[in-house]
């Protein structure tokens, strides 16, 4: 991929420091990173190396202590909280390891939740949520509650929710971490399909080398710095 030409996401000289009880923990130090439009990027590394922090910064959930994070032409650090929330709802879909579905809502209602932040009316939101669920192969589980679904199915609902607003960027934090091998394979197949067929840019954090093999590029981090970059099929 020619990342410099069609960069969607750029980290430039990013520092992130967590402060806990007077102690400072430098999670990221001078990180430079570019993710191209339509790229599938995997982030690997030991626990605490800053993988999830990169996702949080990329999704505007957190702001850097130094440096800039740019999405297209938007510098995320320059946006206010509410502007960042609006930007997030338009541009980013999140997939969590623990699915993070709302247990009191059905699969369709969970998927329709982010659509409340769009101009769509009730009927359009319902249709869009059903379309997203069909894309992930859950057209027959729309009225099921999360506790009536398997782990793999819950993660599919979470992916449908992430897709519902048709964002350009999908951020996946260990999406197969809580799944058995078969379900994990299905989810990775789905992510790969979304990247290839729908052109979604995906940044995925994983500990699993076989999951990382699905990505175009894998970046390995250690102590807040990039230590290795591997191409597809590495």
């Amino acid at each position: 991929m020619e990342m410099a030409e069609n960069a969607l996401l750029r980290f430039h000289g990013v520092d992130k420091i967590y402060r806990r009880g007077g102690e400072e923990l430098h999670v990221l130090a001078g990180l430079d990173l570019t993710v191209g439009e339509g790229e599938f990027l995997a982030l690997m590394g030991p626990s605490g190396c800053g993988k999830s922090t990169i996702l949080n910064l990329a999704g505007g959930l957190d702001t850097p202590d130094a440096g800039t994070v740019t999405f297209g032409q938007d510098e995320l650090g320059a946006l206010s909280d509410s502007e960042r929330a609006a930007w997030r709802s338009r541009n980013v879909g999140f997939i969590f390891q623990a699915y993070n579905l709302i247990p009191v809502l059905t699969a369709r209602q969970n998927v329709a939740l982010p659509l409340l932040l769009t101009p769509l009316n009730g009927r359009e939101r319902k249709e869009q949520a059903e379309r997203a669920l069909r894309i992930v192969g859950l057209g027959d589980r729309m009225e099921h509650f999360p506790n009536q679904l398997s782990g793999g199915q819950e993660q599919r609902v979470a992916i449908a929710r992430a897709l519902a607003t048709d964002p350009r960027l999908l951020l996946a934090d260990e999406p197969t971490g809580d799944l058995d091998a078969n379900s994990a394979k299905d989810i990775l197949d789905l992510l790969q399909r979304l990247n290839r067929e729908n052109g979604k840019t995906i940044v995925m954090v994983t500990h699993d080398p076989s999951a990382a093999e699905r990505a175009h590029r894998t970046l390995k981090l250690d102590k807040g710095r990039l230590v290795q970059s591997l191409g597809a099929g590495h």
């Binding site: 929330a85 997030r88 709802s89 409340l116 932040l117």
Partner: protein
Amino acid sequence: MPRIPWRLMFAHFRRNKLRALLTLGSVFMAVLIFGFLRTFIVGMETSLAECNANRIISASKLSLFAHLPKSLEPEIAEMAAGKASITTFTWYGGIYIDADPSHYWGRFGTDPVSFRKVYGPDLILDDAAWQRWAELRQGCIIGADLARDESLKIGDRVHITGNIFSGEIDLEVVGIYRSKVRSFDQKTLFFNWDYMNETSKQAGGRTNCVSTYCLLLNDAQESAALSQKIDTAFENSPHRTMTQTERAFQAQFNSMWGNLPLFFGILGGVVLLACLMVTSNTMMLNARERIQETGVLKTLGFTKGTLLVLTLTESLLLCLIGGGLAMLIVNAADGAILMFVIASVPASTIWLGLGIAAALGLISGLFPALLVSRLEIVDALRRRA
């Protein structure tokens, strides 16, 4: 203006049905208690406000429960000649059916003809019924509420066994009155004093006594002078009187309960405070249970303001439903008798009850709403329920 995920709020109610019902129930009980306490106090105040300024009551100076001899009537009537009409009330007491408190309502011996002159203007009762009562020695009239509660109708017999007076009285309902004023309740029975006196005499009980003399003045300006004249006349007799306006008499009757407004005010305040603690605790528990969910909603793009409104509305709605149900019941009690006081439920009580419910909802929802709105997304997502 972003849309608010109201469906989520109702889904939470469904998920924690028992918790939602218990919270709603605590608000319901607190507002219900407040509503009835206020209804009782307003009822007392209303009955005082609607007392007839032209009426004065003469009772024993010793106690409201001491009798006066019937023989005082001609003397008082003479003093009031040309200035007022006079009648008597005699509290009969007695037992109707059994000693159950539900059958314990007012029963007074009086004279039908003079009663009509003094209290007729306050009552709605047709001429035929007044006539029939005056003619039938064992006739009685009853209030509409009493007729409803005891399932009595015209022509029914009412059998009461005396306890203050001796003997047993057997009455026939000849009329059912309605009251035009709140100072005169609709849950009382009036019957012929002569019949009462004769029955008691035959059974060897007390005779020739009355509880109060009631006078309807032609001119309210005469009230003070006539009251003083009556009391002075019996000052040195064994039956000293205390004559006062109907309002003062009613206030004296009410004062038997002590300083109820203060007592009820403290009681109501304590109940509402306890309820506030219960609802605050529940709302905070809800918010803490949903910290990760809050993180997810913020991740999806819902703003601090949206989540603040959602949390506050959940608390407000729960309390308003509880308070609203309580106020429906309080409103239904309008006109009922609460411990000898006619319940009065003005619109201000309903609005105050709803206002208190809303205040409970807003105050108990405020801290959870602030907690939810101020949560950092990253911190919220790290916490699993």
